[in-house]
């Protein structure tokens, strides 16, 4: 009898409070049925004219999809091409679909208009393939110069057995291949930011303490020296940079190796994800909610999508990752966001398990129209950070330094696989000043650590109407501390 009364009191308390917000109140995942005759292991997605999509799969098929915008029961599939050696990149341009498969970029055209590809014209096949399954090739869309980028996985985790494994290359419109960046390990996807800058996601492993999102600047070294012997075949890249020292720090090696670009964001291992994949920039002008021009980065292992806000400090891209949306049905690999603000995503758990639980999936994310209470952007400042919010904050809780908790850590920059979070610094948050419009908060820290990931919890911050932040955690990769 006593137990019973305690339960009813608890029940009353919770039912009087707000029903806690859920991710699905703001972003809804719709799962599509896919044709029974195949396993739709989506590894790339492209948007086609006429509200159609193209799905490339690990089985080497390309399907065109119609009616995917609305009622999922109306979705229609047609097999556009099959028998390709994994389709890890799709780009539509001028009536042709360009696929990146294991050993080439090819231009696929439907010459007779029956909805099936007839011509598979090789554009470039100039990177090496040794026969190792690990040598995946992920292709981008065409960049602002009309080039298509391909990131080439190493032969396994450590080495590069054949030409340009562990490199990013550009394919010029005439098919010429230009070696563009060294230092790639095991990519999971490519994408552009709102300015058309090129990024790829890399996976935790040797020389990568965690998965990352990295800025591909022509001529740079992206951190894994396994493929650097190919500088001999890339005169355009200049001389081979020195290899990083083992068991060092990224921030230290940047001093030594001028070509080394640090990851723009570490996708903190085991917290944000374990295996980063597609990168989509929200160019929907608000149709996907309040996060315009931010990046949405998926994770194969966690079957989730995280949100990345980047800024440039001292000429280096850096920024923050927030959890965004979980609960996808399989390990996400391919994704695209339409200008109408629909995020299409799909993937597979084959060979590498995924939380989603299904062997493969094709799904869509729609914004419900409700704005979640979230940290919108996080900017580095000389002595702390500025947080902006999607809704006005409650000035009392937001101005209370006890509403925040910080931690600074990094990973060893080492040849060994992955690695723990090390070199913890626990900063003191010395002030929290709420802007007059209640939309941003300026935090000052007693210490910032260059090169460290700055983990910030803001569980105590409430919105003006008393809600907690939906995802009260952020991980900011502080490559550079701004002067002002």
């Amino acid at each position: 009898m006593k137990t019973l009364s305690i339960i009813s009191v608890l029940f009353l308390t919770t039912s009087l409070a707000f029903a806690a917000d859920k991710e699905s109140d703001f972003y809804k995942i719709t799962t599509f049925e896919t044709p029974k005759e195949t396993a739709m292991e989506v590894s790339s997605i492209e948007i086609l004219p006429g509200d159609k999509l193209a799905l490339g799969t690990r089985r080497g098929e390309i399907w065109t999809v119609s009616n995917a915008k609305g009622d999922p029961s109306q979705v229609k599939y047609q097999l556009f091409a099959s028998g390709q050696h994994e389709v890890m990149g799709l780009a539509w341009k001028d009536g042709a679909l360009y696929e990146t498969n294991r050993y080439e970029v090819a231009k696929l055209t439907d010459d007779d208009g029956d909805g099936r590809a007839d011509t598979f014209a090789t554009m470039s096949d100039q990177w090496g393939v040794s026969g190792d399954y690990h040598e995946y090739a992920f292709g981008s869309r065409f960049d602002k110069n009309g080039d298509l980028w391909v990131v080439l996985c190493l032969t396994g985790s450590f080495s590069s057995n054949i030409d340009f494994r562990g490199w990013a290359v550009r394919i010029k419109p005439d098919g010429t291949m230009v070696p563009t960046c060294s230092g790639i390990r095991s990519p999971g996807g490519m994408g552009f930011d709102a300015d058309g800058e090129v990024y790829f996601s890399d996976n935790q492993g040797p020389w990568r303490g965690a998965s990352t999102v990295q800025h591909l600047i022509p001529g740079t070294f992206q951190g894994h020296p396994g493929g650097n012997k190919w500088y001999s075949k890339a005169p355009n890249m200049g001389s081979r940079p020195p290899d990083p020292k083992d068991n060092s720090r990224m921030v230290t090696e940047r001093e030594r190796i001028k070509e080394l670009v640090p990851p723009a964001v570490y996708m903190v291992h085991g917290k944000i994800g374990n295996s980063t994949s597609f990168i989509c920039c929200d160019m929907s002008k608000g149709k996907f909610g309040p996060f315009q021009k931010q990046l949405f980065v998926a994770d194969q292992s966690f079957s989730n999508v995280s949100r990345v806000f980047l800024e440039e400090v001292n000429g280096v891209k850096q920024g923050v990752v927030f959890p965004f949306l979980s609960g996808f049905k399989s390990g996400l690999i391919g994704g695209r966001m339409t200008e109408d603000g629909q995020l299409f995503a799909g993937g597979s758990d084959r060979g590498w398990g995924a939380k989603g639980g299904k062997p493969y999936c094709f799904e869509r994310v729609d914004w419900t129209g409700k704005v979640p209470f979230e940290v919108h952007e996080m900017h580095a400042k000389p002595d702390g950070f500025e947080l902006t919010f999607t809704e006005p904050v409650d000035p009392v809780s937001a101005a209370d330094v006890a509403s925040y908790k910080g931690r600074e850590f990094t990973y060893s920059y080492r040849a060994q696989y992955g690695g723990p979070e090390i070199a913890d610094v626990i900063p003191k948050i010395t002030s929290a000043v709420v802007a007059p419009d209640n939309k941003s908060v300026r935090l000052t820290f007693d210490v910032l650590t260059k090169g460290h990931i700055h983990e910030l919890h803001f569980d105590g911050v409430k919105s003006a109407d008393g809600k907690p932040v939906l995802h009260p955690i952020a991980y900011y990769t502080l490559n550079e501390i701004p002067a002002k």
């Binding site: 028998g83 011509t119 399954y133």
Partner: protein
Amino acid sequence: MLQKYSLFAAALLAVSAAQAQTINIRTIAAQMKYDVEEFTVIPGAEVKLILENGDDLPHNLVIFAAGTDVLAVASKNMEKPEEALKRDWLPDSPAVLAHTKMAGPKTREEVVFKAPTKAGLYPFACTFPGHTQSMQGKMKVGTPGPGLTGLKFAVYNGEWSKLPDFATLKPLREGDIADNLVQLKFDDYKNQFGVVYTGKLDAPRDGEYVFSLAADDGARLLVDGNKVVELDGSHSVAEIKDGKVVLKKGEHDFRLEYFQETGEAQIFVAWRGGDFAATPLSKWVPPTWGGEVKKAKTDGGPKMPLIVGNEPVIYRNFISGAGNRGIGVGYPGGVNLAWSAEQLNLVMVWRGGFIDTARHWVDRGGGAQGPLGYDVFQPVSGLSQPFAVLASTDEEWPRTNKQWADGYKWKGYKLDAKRYPTFVYEWNGVKVSDRYDVVGDTAKGEAKLIRTLKLDGTIPANAYLRLAFGASITPEGGGFLVSNGHFSLEKRDFQNAFRIAADGAQIGGHNLLLPARAEMKITYAWPTDSVK
């Protein structure tokens, strides 16, 4: 087993007991194999043999006299193929003891025959042309083992869903079984009864013995008081369970406990030893019982073959023998090829099944996959560029650059309205297209591969297409018979032999060369077939 009960059905079961042995053999799709390597029958026993043909080619199963060279007998068919065809490829030979009819793709044939009375190994094979080499097995006629002696029964009454402890129960009735075969009699009770059978078994020598048990409902077999095999609970006879026991030479106590709840009732027990064939100890034998059957070793893991329908099927992945940029094409008509986008050349031709994708489509998908079918040949014995300029036809063919053949540029492929690919590339500025068509159908007999190469541009002087490389290239039958020993792919051995014909082809050393011209037509066929 709780099923609709009928007194009539029960009575019928009791009288229909017959000692037939059923052997189920399947063909393994696209592998030219039976799933059974060896089966054992008892001399003179009635054998029902069921052949399930899951393949997309026709197959039969012919049992021959002990010691027959089946390949030689089957090959005799080809001396008068028109007549053999009329017999559905059944050899006209006294060595044939029994046979199924030719089973069409995805069909089933059965034959009932009396097993030979003489112990020995009797080979069986498929006698469809080209199949005999790999589709073979053995029927073993074994001496039956000793039966039970002094068999007694004790019937109990009770309502059980598991075997009771009969030792604590009082039998309702006891008696001898004259024919010494375990059996059920339904004249007293049809439901809710139990029987304990006791008798003696004489093990011919020291060694391991295997007992097989099937029962509806539960049963337990004990030898010398030790449990050997048990199928307790209420169930049907679907399962035949084996149990092993090591016995000394001489007499042993046999005890079989059985109970029937409701519905159907059956009991089956058999034994086999090192020197005698599986021998039933019961009157009733399950229709699915095959005695002792050795399953053929098949490649493990799941099978995900690509099925070729009305259109060619393309498969680009790591194909054994075709380099790292191989393109497999399975054509209607059961002819398949692998083409290299590194060498820009035809690498391999085979017939039968196209390719199994499981290696690549299960788990991470590492490694190269070989052809699924059979009769694989490699026209130029490996990876090599198609064209070269030679100072003389005796000159050695240039060594190839492994990743990208020197002077060549891969341009992709184009599918026509029927989805037949034409591969396109450039060789020193000459545009080349390379296309294949299949004439005939391997499932119906002969099939040929016709290759058409077209060159657009200035063809250099003394440019040759290498058609074939072989230790032996013999002009024969309007073309050439090429033989270049053996090669192996994934532990499968293939004889590299084929026929080839092209106007103007000439032998130069170990090469068969064709002077390059604007259009070239080449016919490939298997040695048993004709290029004409």
